[in-house]
């Protein structure tokens, strides 16, 4: 009976999403035709954002429910295939959709840490968690900790950890939503945040996990279509092949060849690059000299400099023939002149850093863990350097390279373990009909995720090829139109300036923000504006779907674990759902409020969420299944220890907090989990061994979780 219903349900889903995909493509065509007939770009942007949000709202409202089982786990009947798609959308955030290709563009090989880390983690989900959590079959991750380790303390720590990592992550998502909405509609960032928030709430407010699941499937389809179309087009243009993932190997070779030309000062192009780099080297030296003088002179030095500039300005103005350009330049410089030493130190340090980066040779895209290039630089400036000097330069390069490799591996590990510990992903495996489907569902999840993660490195290389060969070397008077269009929107995303005044674009004269790569690809490929709108809608879908999953996780941890399990275990289901929805609203507004203050670096926020989850959850969850002896004290010590070490390290080393303590073994704060995870594991083991073994009931729970079906027990624990 049940499986018949399930089969009917599955074919209905297939039909629905089949029609939906067809309808969506039809909608694209109609808009493309309207664009040809003269519909303005701005309207197209609005149509995309509004119609997709309206679509999610319709699905969300149609999925409204007052049933607890439906609200928390979609009645546990989401087929593996669809749960895979929903997990894909839940998983891929604005950082994956918009940020990743840009990171790969600027970092080359070293950016692949994100590609590997955010996919390989699913192996850990499949092998260690998904089937067992599904068999356990409750509603939240703290539920498992509470049942496995007994008592409210492990559950409370679980709630705390779930909230802290989901909240950091959700801020990054809402930030992405605000950015996209404001860029494509011209609304203020703060307004964009709250408009996006409305979009998030219409998906989850009425139907909880049920509504989120079905909108996530719809969002996955939009985001994957939006990601693929421009890249395929670009690939056809550059390589003649419609499969960019296979074809970009050839393009990568061309990019490498071009890098060598641009780095070689004996070629005409390379010589021009060297000229611009020399300008930056001077600028760097100038800024460093100023910083040094500031250290020595402090406020007096600043005042003297400002006075000198004012005097010069007065002299210029008094001159019989006034130099308009020079006066204007000096006036701007004076206006931007820092008013106090702290501000001066910050601006000049930043300017020096930028100049240093620009003065360096181009990083080879495919080269892993590049050193400082000290050896190369030495041989260029002093061809007759002694073997001793060469060896010293080489050692310097090796040290830098080793540091990068260490951080790469540490970051990969943190991202992977964090993947297998983020509650909003793990709860998705509560929603499948069986253990068997939970296992298959992890496969489908990674399959759908890999579709995009295969494409991002291809996009980075294709975009790099276009910029290195078409933009670089073109005349300033004939810049491609997308360059001017994006430079007008945001200078940090795109700017070019002719530093050496030769009228030709050099690579060192181009500044590209990482987010630009995905957003501008349609224009780089010369596609109609409809595709740009589509990409914006895809970015929005990725951010909304992740934000939905995260907000629901936080609200459920509070309403289910705190309110229902600890405060009022006799609450009726109506009250439980009312509490959950109320909390969802409160958490969402709090998150939007924090976001509207623009708190720092998105990639760091996202990365730290992974380190926190990896240190806090992973040891206790996995050992809870695989080590019967693990007990309450172990869980408490392990979770608190792991989280504590991870947070302590981030706090003391991330510049934002201003402590700036020395790093441990040169590990960057984003990979703090590398210290938190072992401490967590050790904590669980030591804590368990010094206290008595868990009770017989709990040991039986472990067996219950390990076997999909033990004779004499109900086949499904729902």
């Amino acid at each position: 009976m049940a499986w018949q219903n399930q089969a009917v349900f599955r074919s209905r889903l297939k039909r629905f999403y089949g029609f939906y995909t067809g309808g969506f493509i039809g909608f694209l065509f109609i808009l493309a035709i309207l664009e040809q007939m003269g519909m303005p770009n701005r309207i197209i942007g609005y149509v995309f954002l509004l119609s997709t949000i309206a679509l999610y709202a319709v699905i969300g409202i149609r999925s409204r429910t007052m049933d607890v089982n439906e609200y928390y786990v979609v009645g546990r009947r989401v087929p593996a295939f669809f749960n895979g798609m929903a997990t894909g959308a839940d998983w891929m955030s604005a950082a994956s959709f918009i940020g990743m290709a840009g990171t790969l563009y600027s970092e080359g090989y070293d950016g692949l840490a994100y590609v590997m880390g955010w996919t390989g983690g699913y192996c850990l989900v499949a092998l260690f968690l998904a089937p067992y959590l599904r068999k356990f079959g409750q509603f939240t991750i703290p539920d498992f900790l509470g049942a496995r380790y007994g008592g409210n303390i492990p559950r409370t720590i679980g709630v705390f950890a779930a909230i802290i990592c989901s909240f950091t992550y959700v801020i990054a998502q809402i930030y992405g939503v605000g950015l996209i909405t404001s860029r494509f509609t011209g609304l203020e960032f703060q307004v964009g945040v709250f408009v996006g928030l409305a979009g998030i709430l219409v998906c989850s407010f009425l139907g909880g996990m049920r509504a989120v699941t079905w909108t996530q499937v719809a969002q996955y389809i939009i985001l994957i279509v939006a990601y693929m179309i421009p890249v395929v087009w670009l690939s056809v243009q550059d390589t003649g092949s419609p499969i960019p993932q296979l074809a970009y190997g050839q393009v990568l070779q061309k990019v490498t060849a071009r890098e060598n030309v641009l780095n070689d000062a004996s070629t005409p192009d390379g010589a021009r690059e060297a000229e611009v780099r020399a300008i930056y080297r001077n600028r760097q030296a100038d800024m460093e000299a100023r910083l040094k003088a500031l250290e020595a002179g402090g406020p007096t030095y600043l005042a003297r400099e400002a006075a000198e500039m004012k005097a010069k300005l007065a002299r210029l103005k008094a001159a019989p023939v006034s130099d308009g350009n020079e006066i204007e330049r000096l006036e701007t410089a004076l206006r931007d002149f820092p008013s106090d030493p702290a501000q001066a130190r910050e601006t000049w340090q930043k300017a020096a850093d930028i100049a240093r980066a620009k003065a360096a040779p181009i990083k080879a895209h495919a080269e892993p863990f590049p050193g400082l290039g000290a050896e190369k630089r030495l041989l260029q400036s002093h061809p007759g350097a002694s073997p001793d000097e060469i060896a010293r330069a080489r050692a310097e390069d090796d040290r830098e390279s080793g540091k990068k490799r260490k951080n790469f591996l540490a970051l990969v590990l943190c991202l992977m373990v964090g993947t297998a510990a983020l509650p909003h992903i793990l709860i998705r495996y509560y929603t499948t009909p069986s253990v068997k489907e939970a296992r298959q569902s992890v496969f489908w999840s990674l399959f759908f995720i890999v579709l995009l993660y295969f494409t991002a490195p291809a996009l980075a290389v294709l975009a790099k090829f276009d910029i290195y060969t078409i933009l670089v070397g073109s005349k300033f008077s004939e810049l491609p139109s997308w360059v001017n269009a994006w430079a007008a929107v945001d200078k940090t995303l795109m700017s070019v300036s002719d530093l050496n005044r030769d009228g030709i674009v050099q690579l060192a004269e181009v500044t590209i923000g990482p987010d630009l790569i995905v957003l501008a690809t349609p224009e780089i490929a010369g596609l109609p504006y409809v595709v740009s709108g589509l990409v914006a809608a895809g970015g929005l879908a990725s951010a909304l779907s992740t934000a939905d999953g995260l907000l629901l996780t936080i609200a459920n941890a509070l309403s289910h674990d705190v309110y229902y399990k600890m405060v009022d275990p006799h609450a009726s289901s109506t009250r439980r759902l009312a509490a959950s929805k109320g909390l969802l609203l409160v958490v969402a507004i709090a998150a939007a409020w924090v976001t509207s203050h623009k708190p720092g670096d998105i990639l760091f926020l996202v990365g730290s969420a992974f380190s926190l989850a990896a240190s806090g959850f992973f040891p206790a969850l996995v050992l809870g299944v695989f080590w019967r002896r693990a007990n309450r004290l172990g869980a408490i010590v392990g979770m608190l220890g792991g989280l504590g070490v991870c947070m302590y390290y981030m706090f003391t080393t991330y510049p934002f907090f201003g402590v700036n303590a020395p790093k441990w073994w040169d590990i960057e704060p984003i990979a703090a989990g590398i210290f938190g995870i072992p401490v967590g594991i050790l904590g669980v083991i030591v804590g368990s061994l010094i206290s008595p073994a868990p009770s017989k009931e709990i040991q039986e729970l472990v067996d219950h979780v390990r076997y999909p079906n033990l004779e004499g027990r109900p086949a499904r624990a729902t």
Binding site: Y109, C123, Q253, A366, R405, P433, K436, F454, R716
Partner: protein, 87 residues
């Protein structure tokens, strides 16, 4: 309820499979990345090999690991009579 010998064996086989797949995961992820510079000396499909592994090779292996695990375990469940019945 005590586990039968057969059921204990099921868990052992599961652990063995998990261990082997985890080892593959570890090698592909950490050993290959560690030697990425050295691997780049070889070429594969037009890519330097080290780069290819990070961008595609490892991902393919991950998908296969998960597929293989699901496939084997779902069969093992039936073989040891611990599969879910009725649906």
């Amino acid at each position: 309820m005590r586990l039968t010998e057969k059921q204990k064996q099921y868990w052992k086989r599961n652990l063995r499979l998990t261990g082997v797949l985890l080892a593959i995961w570890f090698i592909v992820t950490f050993v290959f990345s560690y030697y990425a510079r050295e691997l780049n000396a070889f070429s594969f499909l037009g890519f330097p090999l080290g780069f290819y592994f990070g961008a595609q090779g490892a991902l393919i292996v991950y998908v296969l690991i998960i597929w293989f695990y699901a496939h084997c375990m779902n069969k093992l469940d039936v073989e040891y009579d611990v599969h879910e019945k009725g649906d």
